[in-house]
């Protein structure tokens, strides 16, 4: 199966999906339980991060997906660490002798995928690499279903999956929490340091003379509050900034009155 390139379009798609990702309320406790378990072993994942430069939570969510977070299994395919892997990829790790430590096995699995060669682990790149790690089958053959490997237990996934024998079922539902959903919860709990650039980005700036992307959405949102009535024109000028101050205690970024 040929690879899918990490393009700007794909990067934006991942960013948009993540920003709008909501955990299904009935799954919330289960997600939090998994996140608790991941955090209990954070130091082991950080060991791999220090060695390979791969974010610890990327390693953690793959570990959860591939072998249920068990530290007695190979990250490659869930085989026991007491021997080299038997399933494909068979005979891993190539170096060393069994029994393997989980860290040695995980390092081998991640190096095999060349994940140590990635320079910038932005949020979108993390999600791209997770989907690539699992495989592009959903995107290629069932593009109407977002892969449950990332989005199961969220508003982005309802049903449709490949079942055990490799056949497709429209009605089957994944019973495994998606990797992106786990990262979303880790982020919400302040544990996943995602792209600094996106964290510091100011979404809405004072702009009285030129229409800015999604400023009209902001004005519509403001209009839902009692007593607020803005013209929805996408110009984030003085009146829009006034409402921002009324609601949040400060003007829009760039409003000259901010310095007064």
């Amino acid at each position: 199966m040929s690879n899918i390139r990490f393009t700007t379009t794909l990067s934006n798609e991942f960013a948009t999906l993540f920003a709008s990702c909501e955990i299904q309320p009935e799954k919330f406790d289960e997600v939090d339980d998994i996140v608790d378990r991941i955090l209990a072993d954070k130091n082991r994942y950080e060991t791999v991060q220090r060695k390979l430069g791969i974010p610890w939570f990327f390693v953690a969510v793959i570990h959860n997906m591939e072998s249920g977070g068990r530290f007695d299994r190979h990250l490659h395919n869930g085989d026991p660490l007491t021997k080299r892997t038997r399933q494909v990829p068979a005979g891993r790790p190539l170096d060393g002798e069994p029994p393997f430590t989980w860290e040695a096995s995980a390092t081998d699995a991640l190096l095999m995928k060349r994940l140590d060669q990635i320079d910038a682990w932005s949020l979108s790149r993390i999600l791209y690499e997770l989907e690539r790690y699992n495989g592009w089958g959903y995107r290629r053959f069932h593009p109407d279903v977002l892969t449950p490997y990332l989005w199961s237990y969220s508003n982005h996934y309802k049903s449709g999956k490949y079942i055990a024998d490799g056949t497709w079922s429209n009605t089957a539902v994944s019973r495994q929490c998606g990797a992106a959903v786990l990262i979303r919860r880790l982020e919400q709990r302040g544990e996943a340091a995602l792209s600094v650039a996106s964290r510091r980005r100011v979404f809405f700036k004072y702009s009285p003379r030129s229409v800015k992307d999604r400023a009209d959405d902001l004005q519509r949102f403001f209009n839902t509050f009692p007593g607020v009535s803005l013209r929805v024109d996408g110009l984030a000028g003085q009146k829009t900034s006034d409402v921002a101050r009324q609601l949040f205690g400060h003007y829009l970024s760039g409003d000259p009155r901010s310095d007064e």
Partner: protein, 169 residues
């Protein structure tokens, strides 16, 4: 119960036979092929087969990784395919004499999982990280042993061996 024992004994016998044959089928498939002298090779995310009287033929390109095992008469190939990192299946390819190519014949994973699901009372739609892998051929190439592994959402591990009858060629 008795059928389970019979199946286990058969699987053990087939495995023992595979070991007794020396090198495994995977290690050097061509060495055990007395007719077509065929071999398989992985190239990136594709699996190819070729032989003395067979043009190079693509037999799988929908997976991430593969392993293949050729029957002793060179007319059948069992292919383990990693469809997703957490889903591995096993297929049977058979030589079509008229077409002069190997063709997909059976989804062995489907047969093996159906057997297991029925006997163990599991739902294969919710099995986590399901994988099947080739274990051994029978000496006559008419049966194949597969191993199935998965876990259930409630944390139960599944590790089963199944022998599937392919029938004579």
């Amino acid at each position: 119960m008795s059928s389970n024992w019979q199946r286990l004994l058969l699987a053990a016998a087939l495995c023992a036979n595979a070991v007794a044959c020396g090198d495994s089928d995977r290690a050097n498939p061509a060495s055990r092929d007395s007719t077509a002298n065929i071999s398989v090779s992985k190239e990136g995310s594709e699996l190819w087969v070729q032989g003395d009287s067979l043009d190079r033929q693509l037999i799988a390109d929908d997976g991430q990784d593969y392993e293949a095992a050729i029957s002793s008469d060179g007319t059948r190939i069992v292919v383990d395919v990693v469809l997703f990192s957490n889903l591995q299946v096993t297929r049977l390819m058979e030589w079509n004499e008229y077409a002069g190519t190997f063709e997909f014949a059976r989804n062995l994973s489907q047969e093996a999982w159906r057997q297991a699901a029925s006997e163990l009372g599991i739902d294969i739609e919710v099995a986590l990280n399901p994988r099947t892998r080739f274990v051994a051929w029978s000496a006559d190439g008419n049966e194949v042993v597969l191993e199935l592994s998965a876990s259930t959402p409630d944390g139960r591990d599944i590790l089963e061996t199944r022998s599937l009858v392919l029938g004579p060629r």
